[in-house]
């Protein structure tokens, strides 16, 4: 595996431009969780011209619905959920300054366009490595819509959160590159 690249949030365009598909990164700083229901609410607010409950400028959105925290732990297991369900929402959040997403699985062409247009990066964490990922999460504060339970928006403080760049701001797509490299006719 290539050397790990350490990045800190909030991200700048300059940092995002240094990231390429296949890069292994360790993320430190704040990341915001959101998945299906929270995204619907965020986009509904944007449609209505209302302010969002969180400032996403420069920030990463992590597609996760963690398991409950045991007493004394900030969070339970916290691996990524399937990102393609957020395909329709992701370009909207990139357009207002979010610098990218963390999830699992390929995102569609509209998202790829938005990553290029707004200088964003899509990274993946290993789906199902949820216990391991949880160890990098040091604090967890629900900041919007607690009634959504596991789907509420949380502000996570992470140290060396492991991820891999899957789709970058240069049009790179590791899924297509991987199949081209390892597929056997």
């Amino acid at each position: 595996m290539a050397d790990m690249i350490r990045i800190s949030t909030p991200l700048t365009d300059a940092v995002v431009k240094t990231l390429h598909t296949g890069d292994s990164v360790l993320i430190t700083g704040v990341i915001y969780t959101a998945r299906d229901s929270a995204h619907k609410r965020l986009v509904d607010l944007l449609d209505a011209g209302q302010p969002l409950p969180i400032d996403l400028a420069g920030q990463l959105v992590y597609y996760v619905g963690p398991s409950p925290a045991r007493p004394g732990k900030p969070i339970g297991s916290a691996g990524p959920t399937t990102s393609s369900r957020m395909n329709t929402y992701a370009p909207r959040l990139l357009a207002i300054g979010s610098k990218g997403m963390i999830g699992k699985g390929e995102m569609n062409a509209k998202v790829a366009e938005a990553l290029q247009a707004h200088c964003g990066v899509y990274m993946v964490a290993v789906g199902g490595a949820a216990a391991l990922i949880a160890k990098s999460i040091k604090a967890n504060e629900i900041v919007a819509w607690p009634e959504l339970g596991a789907e509420a928006i949380a502000k996570l403080t992470v140290v060396d959160f492991p991820a891999i760049v899957a789709q970058d701001c240069h049009g790179g797509n590791i899924y297509q590159e991987g199949i081209a490299k390892y597929g056997i006719k």
Binding site: S67, G76, T81, K104, G127, G128, A134, Y175, Y182, K185
Partner: protein, 306 residues
Amino acid sequence: MDLYLSEQNHGAAHSRLNGPIPREQVMREIAAPIISEAVAQLCIDANYHLGEDVLTALKEGLAKEESPTGRAILEQIIENAGIARQGEFPMCQDTGFAIFFVELGQEVIITGKTLEEAITEGVRKGYGEGFLRKSIVSDPLQRVNTKDNTPPVIWIETKPGKDLKITVAPKGGGSENMSEVAMLTPSDGAEGVKNFVVDKVRRAGSNPCPPIVVGVGIGGTFEKVAWLAKKSLLRPVGDRHPDPFYAAMELELLDRINKLGIGPQGLGGRVTALDVHVEVFPCHIASLPASVNIQCHAARHKSIVI
């Protein structure tokens, strides 16, 4: 609780000659709370302890994988299973829809509650006490979380005897979403079924958290074939179908799937599937139903015989 019939009381002839045998001597009673307690523990065990069969297959995959990224991912998954085993963090945050396959001995009577109620109570208890995620909404469109991961999905088969075997298979949403039923026609034949399976895995790509286990159902009816694919996932990874024809099909499918290049997490590589399991059932002269139920690498299932 365990009232087994004694030898000398066995048989209908005795019953006719000497009057009815008391029910508790013919039937074995199991009190509902015993079932609930066992189910609660099963739900927890399944989510914290990945089976040795899966771990072995992951380690074999690590040896085979050519992609450095793929190997790093497999290493993370193996390390993750070790962390989960310590009992603080379930192996995946998606602790699943609790699916049960029950083999109910015909000489068993459940007392206090119905079997379904007893299992449901066990799910409530296990998902609460085990700090497992509550992932079920009460209505598919109005989507309000039931907050205790109930109801479970329960399949019951009857068997001879006095045992009650309960298997739980917590199923994550990501891989379940990548499943499909196809009503093929008899002329499509084995080749048609194989092409359908491989194409489904190709289209699922990175989404179901590869490396995956692929459950395949062939035959039966529209609903039966989906059940077959699900049931096949209970077989240990590495287990082959007893019929050599289907055992060969499983291996051929595994080979074709692993040539797709999807690899661990879909980032490219050799290890896309850990195994393929095929289950079959007789079908109508006009039909060839086929199904694919994809299981992520957190291939969780635990059984108990009460």
